[in-house]
């Protein structure tokens, strides 16, 4: 039983910390979020050069064979600076799905490109009616000749705009909420019949709603077994949730540090407002939430590669529920403690609040995961 990082893990942590310090001042981040792209391709190159984009992939395909702990270390420190590059979408979700379900040929064609920073991915799973249920898939893939024809509407696809390939969940059989009968397809973003509505999200990132209208793909676009994608989706989304939990911890710690400093600086009634007990106790509650979240994030990173599937899923649901709750509390209270300053776009705290708000809803909000945990426990 040990929560300490190894020397290599500490080096990784220091490297991400340095990157964030050098590139993600509040001003630099605000500027970047406001560009057309919403992130920096130069940063992406840097991440590739530092080896981060290959961290979770097996060594056989050119990766570093890192575990969920390495991912958590990176995500936590990126969360600290609200990093905008599509690491989660491309590496954890997209790359994760390909590495998990892909054929040798698919893995060879895609993973090295991802590791090199030459290819970006996005995962289109949600639909307007599905809310947080991964099994609720109405998009269809119909067999046609050697390949398939895709029809449907995918909602809020993070980084769907910049992805070279979109991984789409579609139904090849069964009813719209069946776990069986869901398949994954690799679709080029510029395929005929793909139409996107690109937009910004409140957390400074980019997403798209994507319509698939008679999109023809070959048999080689099928990722994994036809109709058998659900367990793969669940597994990779669990990894994404664990990564997101770590990002939330980093963002909460930063929000707390910023707020704590503000309490020491801001004076009212002739004294720093941090001298007021009512604000001290609020700040302590925010600190405790972040600490509990850190424990849950570390726990889930260590449990993610467990063979016991129920144990893994319970750990993920519990972590997301607790961290979602904490993220809301810390985000909202850090605005409150900043007073009017917290309401301005210019000041950094609001950006932490907004990212923490979206993290709470991504891949299932707090209520969703409490229900999931209860179902798994009964």
């Amino acid at each position: 039983m040990d929560f300490e990082l190894s020397d290599e893990q500490n080096m990784l942590k220091n490297s991400v910390e340095r990157f964030v310090k050098d590139n993600y001042s509040a001003e630099a981040r605000a500027k970047l979020a406001d560009t057309e792209l919403g992130f920096s391709r130069d940063h992406w190159k840097t991440m590739a050069e530092l080896g981060w984009l290959g961290m979770p992939f097996p060594e056989e395909v050119g990766g570093f064979g890192g575990t969920a702990v390495e991912t958590a270390i990176m995500m936590e420190n990126m969360g600290n600076g609200l990093v905008l590059e599509p690491f989660l979408s491309t590496v954890i979700l997209g790359g994760g799905l390909v590495a998990e379900a892909g054929s040798e040929a698919q893995i060879e064609a895609i993973i090295p490109e991802v590791i090199e920073g030459n290819m970006m991915l996005a995962f289109a799973y949600a639909e307007p009616q599905s809310r947080f249920d991964l099994n609720d898939v109405e998009t269809t893939a119909t067999k046609s000749g050697d390949g398939y024809v895709l029809n449907g509407h995918k909602a809020v696809v993070y980084h769907g705009t910049t992805a070279d390939k979109i991984i789409v969940s579609a139904r090849t059989s069964g009813d719209s909420r069946d776990e069986d009968g869901i398949s994954l397809f690799l679709v080029d973003n510029n395929s005929d019949g793909v139409s996107r509505r690109d937009y910004r999200t409140i957390d400074g990132q980019r997403a798209a709603d994507i319509e698939f209208e008679n999109v023809k793909v070959g048999a080689d676009a099928l990722l994994g077994k036809e109709g058998g994608a659900f367990p793969v989706i669940e597994k990779i989304v669990d990894r994404a949730i664990a990564a997101l939990c770590a990002e939330a911890v980093g963002a909460m710690q930063a929000a707390n540090n910023i707020t704590n400093e503000y309490l020491k600086e801001r004076k009212q009634f002739g004294t720093p407002i941090g001298k007021f007990q009512v604000l001290q106790h609020r700040m302590v509650d925010m600190y405790m939430e972040a600490e509990q979240s850190k424990s849950m994030s570390d726990m889930v990173a260590m449990k993610l590669d467990l063979d016991d599937e129920t144990e893994r899923r319970k750990a993920v649901a519990a972590a997301k529920a607790q961290i979602g709750q904490a993220a809301k509390f810390v985000g909202q209270q850090s605005i409150q403690l900043h007073g009017g300053m917290g309401m301005t776009d210019e000041y950094s705290i609001g950006h932490y609040f907004k990212r923490l708000t979206t993290i709470e809803m991504l891949f299932g909000n707090t209520d969703h995961h409490f229900k999931k945990y209860a179902a798994l426990s009964s």
């Binding site: 039983m1 300490e4 700040m283 302590v284 600490e291 424990s295 449990k303 426990s377």
Partner: protein, 398 residues
């Protein structure tokens, strides 16, 4: 990073389980599981069994009778005791005054008191709080005036748990009224049979007698019963309070409470089905379970820091705050789970000697008593508000 316990630790866990399964008396376990106050006889009997096993004082150095357990083993034992409804040793002797004696006491005091604590020959109680000194402990007024080889003690202590059982009391007294508050306090060990001591019961909101007032009227205490130096008592008191805050998370006990709730909810009915199928109940219980999991891993994370040689400041206050909040939510939900049978309540002391079983299902005997008593959990050991002050100052620098 690694969550697994070593082979040795797992073997140790099995040893603790085995010991508890075979050696914990059923009546003692039953009271503890229900959340009822221990009886003096039962608690003493159990502590003597612990002492025989050599497990009475896990936190003491081996030379004084400690177990020599690693920090992980201590954690494992605490978990297992809590989960098995095995009472831990009454804290006043072994956890509070014992460490003060072996750290600051003289050889004679160590030789006399420590073995008696281990063998439960003396039941100790704690003379800290006074009517005017609760969270602001240093303002205490009980006076000790030097008279030859004795001190003459006058004053009053309050909220003294189990003083009516106690053979000995450790007391903070004022020996210099002219000094700054913290600098005029001494730490005395006082025999409860000394003339001039009166114990008056305080009946709690649970209608039970566990709390007392202790009055001192010209009580003669040998100077030899003072710990360390005169007027340095505050240092020793603070040391003791620091000890009190660790292992206060009580995760093992709370896990057992979750299990009890699930058992009760399978039997109780709500809206024509089992309470365990009621969405509101499930939601409340799940939220507690998840918070408890976060607390469990926070405690483990702190343990790992200590094991790796890091110094904690006020982080354990978090364990106290979250741990006690969870304990209270659990007992509150336990009472809720009983439905109307939460209401019938007779204090044990009022029907002692009667043959009747308590009203309602068997599991209804306990939750309300514990629910009431545990309202104190967020007050004692430094109230949760005081704990927040401490974190604010020590960790956040506010």
């Amino acid at each position: 990073m690694d969550l697994s316990f070593s082979k040795e630790d797992l073997a140790f866990r099995d040893e603790v389980r085995e010991f508890l399964a075979t050696s914990l008396p059923a009546d003692v376990k039953d009271r503890c599981d229900r959340g009822l106050h221990p009886t003096k006889e039962g608690q003493t009997r159990w502590q003597k069994i612990l002492n025989e096993k050599g497990w009475m004082a896990p936190n003491w150095p081996v030379e004084y009778g400690g177990t020599g357990w690693t920090i992980t083993q201590k954690y494992i034992a605490a978990q297992e005791f809590g989960y098995a409804a095995a009472p831990v040793a009454t804290p006043f002797g072994v956890s509070m005054v014992g460490p003060v004696i072996y750290t600051f006491g003289n050889q004679e005091q160590k030789d006399y008191y420590l073995p008696r604590i281990l063998n439960s020959d003396d039941w100790w109680c704690q003379g800290y709080s006074e009517p005017g000194s609760g969270s602001d402990l240093a303002s205490l007024q009980t006076k000790a005036v030097r008279d030859g080889d004795d001190y003459i003690v006058n004053g009053q202590k309050i909220w003294t748990s189990y003083a009516h059982y106690a053979d000995m009391i450790f007391c903070l007294v004022r020996t210099d009224s002219s000094a700054k508050q913290q600098e005029g306090i001494s730490f005395l060990l006082i025999d409860m049979k000394t003339p001039g001591i009166t114990v008056k019961p305080i009946i709690g909101i649970d209608k039970e007698h566990s709390l007392n007032e202790v009055f001192f009227e010209d009580v003669r205490v040998p100077v030899a019963n003072r710990i360390g130096e005169e007027n340095k008592g505050w240092t020793y008191a603070k040391f003791l309070l620091g000890n009190e805050r660790t292992s206060i998370a009580r995760v093992g006990r709370s896990k057992r409470q979750v299990e009890r709730l699930k058992e009760i909810a399978k039997t109780e009915r709500c809206g024509g089905r089992a309470l365990s199928e009621d969405p509101d109940f499930i939601n409340k219980l799940t939220r507690i379970e998840v918070d408890l999991m976060a607390l469990e891993f926070t405690e483990l994370r702190m343990l790992s820091m200590i094991a790796n040689g890091k110094q904690l400041s006020a982080e354990p206050s978090l364990l106290k705050i979250k741990g006690t909040e969870i304990q209270q939510r659990l007992t509150s939900l336990l009472v809720e789970s009983l439905g109307m049978y939460g209401a019938p309540y007779e204090a044990e002391r009022s029907y002692a000697g009667r043959n009747e079983a308590p009203v309602g299902p068997d599991y209804a005997n306990g939750p309300m008593a514990e629910h009431l008593y545990l309202r104190a959990a967020t007050i004692y050991g430094g109230s949760n508000e005081i704990q927040r002050n401490i974190v604010s100052k020590m960790v956040l620098g506010l």
